[in-house]
């Protein structure tokens, strides 16, 4: 089989903004000749940044799931809802498809993202020998499903705005929602800092 070369090996930098290839000048800071974006061999400090965002997200993941995200007061009293209890309520009212959807977007996806990104970072640190294309697919999945976790935040926004019937029922946001929103944003930032090309790099290949 023919030997495959990366652009980095051949001394080319790829502009991630416009797709232009540029010959590496050897200087620390280089800009794309076509669109002016800062370009580098790999995203700067990719692993460090990905890990930092990931740790922050993992810490906030605990309050995001334990603290209530909203408070519902009705005539018969008040009730706090966490992410998980919101799903349980949907199951109890018989909205199975909806319960699955929210369970997937709010509970499965953030957990999957944390685990997958950790796995990707570890695989690069430990120089795993497994074929990188499989791990690249995992990264694409993370990028694709990541944004859908914001679903619960939008649901909450609408409920807070609409359910303001002083006498009958009110819905108020609670701090858990802030933690949850932060987890989603941090995992998005973590995934965007990750450079999938690192999966394909051989040791000692990148200058």
């Amino acid at each position: 089989m023919k030997q495959l070369h990366s652009a980095a090996q051949a001394g080319f930098l790829l502009c991630l903004s416009c797709g232009q290839l540029a010959r590496s000048s050897g200087s620390l800071i280089q800009h794309c000749p076509r669109c002016g974006e800062r370009i580098s061999l790999r995203k700067p400090q990719s692993i460090t940044r990905t890990t930092a965002y990931l740790i922050a997200a993992a810490i906030l993941y605990v309050p995001a799931n334990l603290l209530p995200i909203m408070h519902t007061s009705t005539l018969v009293g008040g009730e706090d809802d966490t992410i998980l209890s919101g799903v349980i309520v949907l199951v109890q009212t018989g909205s199975w498809p909806l319960a699955l959807l929210v369970f997937f977007a709010s509970i499965m996806v953030p957990m999957l993202k944390l685990i997958a990104l950790a796995l990707l970072v570890i695989s690069i640190r430990q120089r795993w020998k497994s074929p990188p294309v499989g791990r690249l697919r995992l990264y694409r999945l993370v990028e694709f499903v990541g944004r859908w976790s914001l679903l619960d935040i939008y649901v909450l926004t609408l409920l807070v705005a609409l359910v303001q019937l002083q006498a009958l029922a009110t819905v108020e946001p609670r701090p858990g929602a802030v933690a949850f929103g932060a987890v989603v944003v941090l995992t998005l930032l973590s995934a965007r800092s990750f450079d999938p090309r690192l999966l394909f790099d051989q040791p000692g290949e990148i200058p």
């Binding site: 797709g19 002016g36 690249l136 679903l151 926004t157 609408l158 946001p173 929602a177 090309r197 790099d201």
Partner: protein, 197 residues
């Protein structure tokens, strides 16, 4: 510029260096190793994107001016628009959440549409466009989450349907139309395509 750099392309996901196939611009290029899209297929003209971006901008205004839903409960009618909903979050001491929702559903799509319009008009008139606009466009596009918002609205509606009679508003249908227009717009022009002109 090195002439080799014109014929060679690199994959943004696995960095494989490869030759651009001479299949013609209407086909596009995928990476030989990991199948990532390197160059999306190009289009004939920018008439279609222009029409789509104008329609999307109008629908976006409708979606934010009119109420999303109205709720009928014992003769009391409650309704909200998207900006009002963001404001309600802010008033409940959730400034950070309000900022997140404002940014992902109002600011980012608004900026994306504005820059798209400027870019498309610029390319059509053959003028040189400010290069940084392309970057800013891509960045804001990646933070716009109207599709997620749409699903969130529907989930909220089902939850509220248990409580009161729900009347879908003009903005709800506008959001539906806006999503269709945006996905058509995103497939009808790409910023990389503009560079090839």
């Amino acid at each position: 510029m090195n002439p080799a750099a014109v014929r060679l392309i690199a994959c943004s996901q696995c960095d494989l260096l490869q030759k651009r196939l001479l299949a013609g611009p209407s086909v596009g290029t995928r990476c030989a190793r990991c199948q990532a899209v390197i160059e999306p297929p190009a289009h004939e003209s920018f008439d279609r994107p222009l029409a789509l971006v104008i329609a999307a901008a109008e629908t976006f205004v409708l979606a934010n001016v009119f109420p999303l839903v109205s709720m009928d409960l014992n003769g009391e009618t409650l309704s909200t628009t998207l900006p009002q909903a963001v404001w309600a979050l802010y008033q409940h001491d959730m400034a950070s959440l309000a900022a997140l929702v404002f940014f992902t559903t109002l600011l980012a799509p608004a900026i994306q549409l504005t820059i798209s319009l400027v870019l498309i008009i610029g390319v059509r008139s053959g003028r040189r466009t400010e290069p940084s606009l392309f970057r800013i466009h891509q960045w804001f596009r990646s933070w716009g989450m109207l599709d997620v918002l749409m699903l969130g609205i529907l989930v909220a509606l089902v939850k509220l349907a248990a409580l009161a009679r729900i009347v879908p508003g003009v903005a709800l249908f506008s959001f539906g139309a806006l999503l269709v227009l945006l996905s058509l717009l995103n497939t009808s022009f790409t910023t990389t395509e503009m560079w090839r002109r």
